[in-house]
């Protein structure tokens, strides 16, 4: 086509210079045409099939939306960034392309000693590839921002069919966490018992010291976190309790959470700290859910993990419970089952223990002695709640990342007797986003908490429609 144009152009004297030696010079033509065809095919397919390549549930995120052009969004540069994000997500054959890209990257080297392999987190690009080398330095992302959006910087170690997250430690981060817990406990009635449990992750119990040393030492890290807590806050030594069973199936191999069994040993440590007699494991109703391929497969895309799925073992409490929860952005409690084997797909079966990281959930047990527990947790807490429920009439569960309200007022209103912070080492050891959220919902972020006696009528806040005490929107107390 272009030759014809070129000849025609020449014939009309429109600027193509030189003789058109078409016969002699067509030997580069197949190469040029192949390239043009590739671009044209890519362009056509991407326009026709746009949207077929959306990120799967594996990525735990929605596809980037197609941006609406506007003068303001164009001028801010927001439109072009959003457009590129949309196009990348909507690109045809995205899943096989991602798989191919991953297969190519696996050719980068030997898989370490034995079958060990180090995988870098795909945490989004921080460099600007458009800048000439050296002219612009990659912006460092704010660590708080990183944890908020889940883009936590991290590496993963794959050993055989097992992946582990490598964690980092900063004294400053655990201090922020301890301060947030202290500040909350100081706002509570002195009679309320406060306990804290920092849950170690799987790499803490790896036998091989060489590999374990790739990650921050969790025993000393947890000690450092506990050292900053007020004497009033009782420390739960889950690390030792889990460590003495380290041969058992305590952590998933393909997912970054502990198993129900790992949570059970943490529960026993909590009982020891609370002077309670734990229920024996045998009293729970066991149910196995095979075929779980979790988040660490999503992160590493290692075929050995996919070929060797985990089994989720559920421990259903031997007593009746009711379970109510708020969805994200929801204003009305919904009912469900605390432990529910039907919840979650193969890639997120961990949901069976408790469900999503609900902003707020309440487990109620018929009978009981009337005592109430308030738990602040990240997803590690989810597998622990069914065990804790045995000892209380009500267990209130707040996920500070998503809860929109005043947790001091909440504790007073519901007259909780005990508070437990269950936080994984991963969310407190390096980033301060989680601790910041604790401070936010507990009013310890610097400003005084809203008075529990005269709560503002927070229309649209999470609890308003329940007829319970209205809680202020998170912005107001911290503003």
């Amino acid at each position: 086509m272009a030759t014809r144009k070129a000849r025609r152009g020449k014939a009309r004297g429109t600027g193509w210079r030189g003789p058109a030696r078409a016969e002699e010079k067509t030997s580069g033509k197949p190469r040029a045409l192949a390239f043009i065809l590739l671009l044209a095919a890519g362009a056509a397919l991407s326009l026709v099939l746009a949207g077929r390549g959306a990120p799967g549930e594996r990525e735990n995120r929605a596809a980037a939306p197609r941006p609406e052009p506007s003068v303001a969004s164009w001028l801010s540069g927001g439109f072009s960034a959003a457009f590129e994000a949309w196009y990348a997500d909507a690109f045809p054959f995205r899943a096989p392309l991602v798989a191919a890209g991953n297969a190519i990257e696996r050719l980068h080297g030997l898989a370490g000693f034995g079958s060990a392999e180090l995988v870098r987190s795909r945490g989004g690009e921080t460099e600007d590839p458009g800048a000439p080398a050296g002219e612009t330095l990659p912006p460092t992302e704010d660590p708080v921002e990183l944890i908020e959006t889940g883009k936590a910087f991290g590496d993963f170690l794959v050993l055989g069919d097992r992946a582990m997250e490598l964690l980092r430690f900063r004294q400053g981060a655990v201090d922020v966490w301890a301060d947030a817990v202290n500040a909350y406990s100081r706002r509570l009635d002195p009679a309320v018992k406060v306990r804290a449990l920092v849950a170690p992750s799987s790499i803490a119990f790896l036998d091989d010291e060489r590999y374990r040393s790739l990650s921050a030492d969790q025993a000393s890290g947890i000690r450092a976190a506990y050292a900053g807590l007020d004497p009033r806050v009782v420390r739960v030594d889950a690390h030792s309790a889990i460590g003495s069973h380290s041969r058992e199936y305590l952590y998933f191999r393909t997912d970054h959470h502990w198993t129900g069994l790992g949570a059970f040993y943490a529960y026993r440590a909590w009982c020891a700290a609370a002077n309670l007699t734990p229920l024996p494991l045998a009293s729970f109703v066991v149910r196995d859910l095979p075929g779980f391929v979790g988040t660490l497969y999503g992160k590493t895309l290692n075929p050995r993990l996919k070929a060797n799925p985990d089994t989720v073992r559920l421990y259903e409490p031997p007593f009746e419970t009711s379970f109510e929860y708020l969805r994200h952005g929801g204003t009305r409690f919904e009912s469900g089952r605390l432990v529910d084997a039907a919840r979650g797909d193969d890639w997120n079966k961990y949901l069976a223990y408790f469900g999503d990281d609900w902003p707020l959930a309440v487990v109620r047990r018929e009978g009981g002695d009337g005592r109430k527990l308030l738990v602040f947790k990240d997803s590690y807490g989810n597998a622990l709640i069914p065990f804790l429920a045995a000892h209380f009439t009500e267990v209130h569960v707040i996920d500070p990342r998503h809860f929109q309200g005043d947790a001091v007022a909440y504790a007073r209103t519901h007259e909780v007797d005990e508070v437990l912070f269950v936080n994984s080492f991963a969310v407190v050891s390096y980033y301060t986003g989680f601790a910041g959220n604790i401070a936010r919902v507990t009013g310890a972020g610097g400003a005084a908490p809203a008075s529990a006696a005269a709560p503002p009528a927070g229309a649209g806040s999470t609890l308003a429609s329940e007829g319970e005490e209205a809680t202020p929107s998170p912005a107001s107390p911290d503003a």
Binding site: G9, R31, A32, I36, A43, A85, G134, Y211, L214
Partner: protein, 475 residues
């Protein structure tokens, strides 16, 4: 917009190629390219596209004045005015924060430190327009009468944001008229594919692997870990930058422009002098022709000239002292090599020369990478702390074995060997130097397979970059 993006490869480029080759007249083709280039620029820099237009307008008029008033004071004034305006632009947007910050620190002032986001490519296009006005003044270039054509030269998207620094004289003929040639287009496509793969498959991979070492606390790095990290950075910056130049040259050919080469396998050099003849050649020759020689070159105040040229070469790379130190470091090595060559005619054996240059380049990259000079120095001390700290660590061994083939391949790809191999196989992407035309070797049936393979490989890796699973659920 960046070349190494799905948007560029599968939307922008095919659209511009189609519009360009569907245009019936040369004026239309130029118009399509100019409009596309401005769109390309505004995609990433929607506001400061105005600076680009301003800089083009300034030198369009100054170039004409410098030519028409040649020999009079007016021509000199035109050059001076162009320098003031262009360097003023660069100074305001790139260096004002650096200068006020230093003044505050030095004099104890508290001037407000301006914070501009550096407009993309400003370091490149201001240098290009300066070179044009000076060339008009010197009579090396014929001033362009048409603003449209001049704007095409300044804004031409293949070379707009990351070089090479194209001089007007080199493409003046192409701006006036271009010849379509399947061979040229084919070799351009091949060159683009090669540059794309260099950027996406090598530079990005090396960069990701370097992060845990470069961003670690240098005090905790084992000796070999420090060397390993900076070696990966050396690969990253070379394949990134030379890949970009390859893509620019390839795109230029696809549209009928021929740009000069910008890199010639710099890591195979045996001296600092040779390295800078092979690294970012368009920048080196700019400083040589428009600064070093006018200052008197090596005949007058040679030491002073070397210091000025290399300090500014360093500073061009970024508004920070570490770049100045990096530039002066290279200047000192080159001056030293000159002094040695004057004293003795003996040449070091080749392996020694290579080893010297590689160590020199890696030490240089440490200074270049670490904006904080103190951190750079402690990284250097980690590299040379033989005996006082561990040589290796489990993390290093795991990382290094995990990237063994990547590193070996990158090392090989830094030499001229792959280009020779490709030529043998008939998939050359080089222009034949004797005829200035693409080599016949680029016509083998393997050539399209090679190009498509590289583009598809890069596509898969680019798609992989958008794969971004969240550990911590986001709702």
């Amino acid at each position: 917009m960046v070349f190494s993006s799905l948007t560029f490869i599968y939307l922008f480029l095919p659209a511009v190629l189609a519009l360009h080759y569907a245009s019936r007249s040369h004026a239309w083709r130029n118009g399509v390219l100019t409009a596309a280039s401005l769109f390309f620029y505004a995609w990433g820099e929607p506001v400061w596209v105005i600076l680009l237009l301003f800089s083009a307008a300034v030198d369009y008029f100054h170039g004409r004045l410098a030519e028409s008033a040649r020999g009079t004071w007016k021509a000199k004034a035109a050059v001076a005015s162009s320098l003031v305006l262009n360097l003023g632009l660069l100074g305001a947007f790139k260096y004002s924060g650096f200068v006020t910050g230093n003044l505050n620190a030095l004099l104890g002032l508290s001037l407000p430190v301006p914070e501009f986001n550096l407009p993309i490519g400003i370091s490149f296009y201001t240098f290009q327009t300066i070179s044009y006005t000076i060339d008009c003044y010197r009579g090396h270039a014929k001033a362009q009468k048409s603003f449209g054509k001049f704007l095409l030269y300044v804004s031409l998207f293949p070379q707009l944001v990351a070089g090479p620094i194209v001089r007007y004289v080199d493409i003046a003929r192409d701006v006036e008229s271009r010849r379509f040639d399947w061979d040229v287009f084919a070799s351009g496509a091949g060159r683009f594919a090669l540059g794309l793969a260099k950027k996406v498959a090598l530079a990005n991979a090396a960069g990701a692997a370097a992060v845990p070492f470069l961003d670690a606390d240098p005090a905790g790095l084992p000796v070999l870990g420090a060397w390993y990290g900076i070696m990966l950075f050396a690969f990253q910056i070379y394949f990134d930058f030379s890949g970009y130049s390859d893509m620019a040259i390839g795109l230029g050919r696809m549209f009928g422009f021929s740009f000069k080469e910008n890199f010639a396998h710099p890591y195979v050099s045996r001296s600092a002098t040779e390295f800078w003849r092979r690294w970012h050649m368009s920048l080196g020759s700019f400083f040589r022709d428009y600064l070093y020689i006018p200052l008197g070159g090596n005949r007058r105040r040679a030491i002073f000239n070397i210091i000025v040229v290399w300090a500014l070469t360093g500073l061009w790379h970024g508004a920070s002292w570490n770049f100045v130190v990096w530039g002066l470091y290279w200047g000192a090595l080159i001056a030293m090599e000159k002094a040695v060559s004057r004293v003795t005619r003996l040449k070091a054996p080749a392996p020694l020369g290579h080893a010297y240059l590689l160590v020199a380049a890696l030490v240089g990259w440490v200074l270049f990478h670490h904006v904080d000079l103190g951190r750079g120095l402690s990284y250097l001390s980690a590299m040379f702390a033989f005996g006082t700290r561990p040589l290796s660590s489990p993390a290093l061994e795991l990382a290094a074995t995990g990237k063994l083939f990547l590193v070996a391949f990158a090392a090989l790809a830094s030499t001229p060997l792959p280009a020779r191999l490709l030529e043998r196989l008939g998939v050359s992407t080089e222009a034949s130097p004797s005829r200035g035309r693409p080599d016949k070797a680029g016509r083998s049936v393997l050539a399209p397979v090679f190009d498509i393979g590289l583009v598809l490989l890069s596509t898969a890796l680019l798609a992989g970059q958008s794969y971004n699973p969240f550990l911590y659920f986001r709702f």
